[in-house]
């Protein structure tokens, strides 16, 4: 009797702990953001947030979860921070160094710390996003730090999602925080001319996270596809914090429209299915509707020619076509033409050529491909030769097509793709 009671209590306690941890996880990014502004140190902010969780785990089973758990956790962490500064003059001096001029043990200190915490919390989160995506960090560190701080993912979860070893990711995060601290990166939302560049970095990080998840196939660890969800969630949070930025809405739209195809883009064997061969009935209409809405918002804000808006508009052309044959290829070709002007790249030109071939036929497409075929960036790009081979074969130039397909087959690292390309080469004779 006693034993079963003890087991039951333990089970209930574990359940309570899980419930409290879930509440804390929801609040964690805003807690860390607010605390970072207060103590000017991300690692310390994380520790204080963790302290608040431990106190909640002790207190809430007795008192119940407070009505506003976020405020409770913040107040608790804040008290811990104040205690810490009162009892640690070294730390206080460090705080002074970074420009606060706070003196220890004076009521003024406490008051000012309180004031510092009562600003808009949303701004803090935005500051934290800009900080974790700072260009001073290598891209893979921006990704890991953003998932850790804003996404609230554990190091283990990030490692699994990126097929990396846990210590690798752990070190990457530690180093990133150290870099930020040592470079005295101001905890702020960049303004003026700097802002666009910094925002581009943030958007780049979110899209990297999304694509890492999007490249996962069925059968991959479930954490990988989860990255798409996480990137979209981060994008929506950012869109709420910067509602006036068209490219933020555009990126959210781009990710949502692409994610709408998740169910259709792999077959039963977990292998990719071409966009034009996908069963469009399996596309997620809710995500399409949301994505088109986000794109419309970007366009309403005048962002029609932004790189993400253009990519989203291309994705939207596919999303709007009920059947592959209904695709508005002339519009897609036109959008690629603008995209190629905004962000010149031979890869975009190659995609534009494919759209032109669908819209107007292989001859003008081949003309465009031939203008870029010597671009150094494409020298080892198997798709260039695959596309060129396809266009040549459509034009009846089989000998040349055969050569191109075999070249593409040599370059690809994907065995199934190699088999496919060699098949095309054989067909071309």
């Amino acid at each position: 009797m006693l034993l079963s009671f003890a087991i039951m209590t333990a089970a209930t306690q574990a359940e309570t702990h899980r419930a409290i941890t879930a509440v804390w996880k929801i609040e964690q990014p805003r807690l860390i953001a607010g605390l970072t502004r207060m103590v000017r140190d991300i690692s310390m902010a994380e520790e204080l947030a963790q302290d608040a969780l431990l106190i909640a785990l002790k207190t809430w089973p007795q008192t119940g979860v407070p009505k506003n758990p976020g405020a409770w956790l913040m107040a608790t962490a804040k008290r811990r921070a104040i205690d810490y500064f009162r009892h640690n003059k070294m730390a206080a001096r460090k705080l002074e160094e970074v420009g606060h001029g706070i003196e220890t043990d004076t009521p003024d200190t406490v008051e000012r710390l309180h004031e510092a915490l009562d600003d808009e919390v949303g701004d803090d989160l935005l500051r934290l996003i800009f900080t974790s995506c700072h260009p001073i960090l290598p891209p893979e560190s921006r990704v890991a730090l953003t998932l850790r701080l804003i996404g609230g993912l554990t190091t283990e979860e990030i490692a699994r999602a990126f097929l990396a070893a846990e210590p690798t990711i752990g070190q990457r995060i530690v180093r990133a925080k150290k870099t930020i601290a040592e470079a005295h990166i101001p905890f702020e939302v960049p303004r003026g001319p700097q802002r666009a560049e910094r925002l581009a970095s943030v958007l780049g990080v979110l899209y990297l996270i999304f694509n890492e998840g999007y490249s996962a196939t069925a059968g991959s660890d479930w954490m990988r596809p989860q990255l798409c969800d996480e990137a979209m969630r981060l994008g929506r949070i950012l869109a709420r914090l910067t509602p006036e930025e068209p490219e933020v809405h555009a990126l959210v739209g781009l990710m949502e429209i692409q994610a709408s195809r998740t169910n259709a883009r792999t077959n039963a064997m977990g292998e990719p299915v071409l966009l034009l061969d996908q069963d469009r009935a399996r596309w997620d209409q809710l995500l399409i509707r949301r994505g088109l809405g986000a794109l419309a918002e970007a366009e309403r804000l005048g962002g029609i020619a932004g790189p993400y808006a253009l990519q989203a508009a291309i994705a939207a052309c596919h999303a709007r076509a009920r059947r592959a044959a209904d695709t508005d290829w002339p519009r897609i070709a036109g959008l690629y033409a603008i995209l190629a002007q905004v962000t010149p790249s031979p890869v975009i030109d190659l995609n534009r050529a494919v759209a032109i071939s669908m819209a107007q036929g292989p001859a003008p497409a081949l003309e465009l491909v031939d203008t870029i075929k010597d671009a150094p960036a494409l020298r080892n790009y198997h798709l260039l030769y695959g596309v060129r081979g396809d266009l040549l074969s459509k034009l009846g130039r089989h000998t040349e097509a055969n050569l191109e397909f075999r070249r593409a087959a040599d370059l690809t690292r994907n065995e199934r793709e190699r088999a496919y390309l060699l098949g095309r080469a054989a067909d071309a004779g």
Binding site: R18, A19, T21, A22, V23, K25, I26, V65, G122, A200, G204, Y207, L208, N211, Y214, A218, P225, Q226, D229, M232, R233, L234, G235, R236, I237, R240, Q258, T262, N263, R265, T266, N267, A268, M269, E271, P272, V273, L274, L275, D277, L286, R290, P307, Q311, I314, A315, T343, S345, V347, I348, N351, V354, L383, G386, V387, N414, R416, E417, A419, Y420
Partner: protein, 142 residues
């Protein structure tokens, strides 16, 4: 993963009594929180079952029964569709719903692609490759 939070009907919702302005404000605040956290995918409220109908197939026939329906507790009055990391997070969000005394919501997980057994696809599909069109969706180097 996605969850649907199904809001059960109450005597008031079935009587087409609109919620108080306080409740509407509280719900608005809750919705804002969901949007701020990036987890809100959709939400709708439903008219009473009086305006609804039940359509049932039996013995090869389709029968239509007009509302209202009696068993209030089994009826729905609305839903949220949210994206959460796990069930614990979804429950944590549910606990923040400004529920009236005695009111109930039901949390259900939405099927995702990977929840379905592999379906029958042809050889032809198996030979297809990740195509150039997927390549077009890769990130621009910025």
């Amino acid at each position: 993963m996605r969850f649907m939070i199904l809001v059960k009907a109450t005597a008031e919702s079935e009587a087409d009594i609109l919620p108080s302005s306080e409740l509407i404000a509280a719900m608005g605040e809750f919705n804002e929180t969901l949007i701020d956290a990036g987890v809100m995918l959709g939400a709708e409220g439903l008219h009473s079952s009086r305006k609804g109908a039940r359509i049932k197939s039996s013995g090869g026939h389709i029968t239509v029964t007009d509302g209202p329906f009696a068993e209030t507790k089994e009826l729905l009055a609305g839903f949220w569709l949210i994206q959460a990391k796990d069930r614990d997070e979804a429950i944590a969000w549910c606990k923040r719903i400004p529920l009236q005394d005695g009111q109930e919501v039901e949390l259900r997980q939405v099927f995702e692609a990977y929840d379905f057994p592999a379906d029958s696809l042809t050889e032809q599909h198996l030979r297809k490759e990740q195509a150039w069109r997927d390549e077009t969706q890769k990130p621009l180097t910025r």
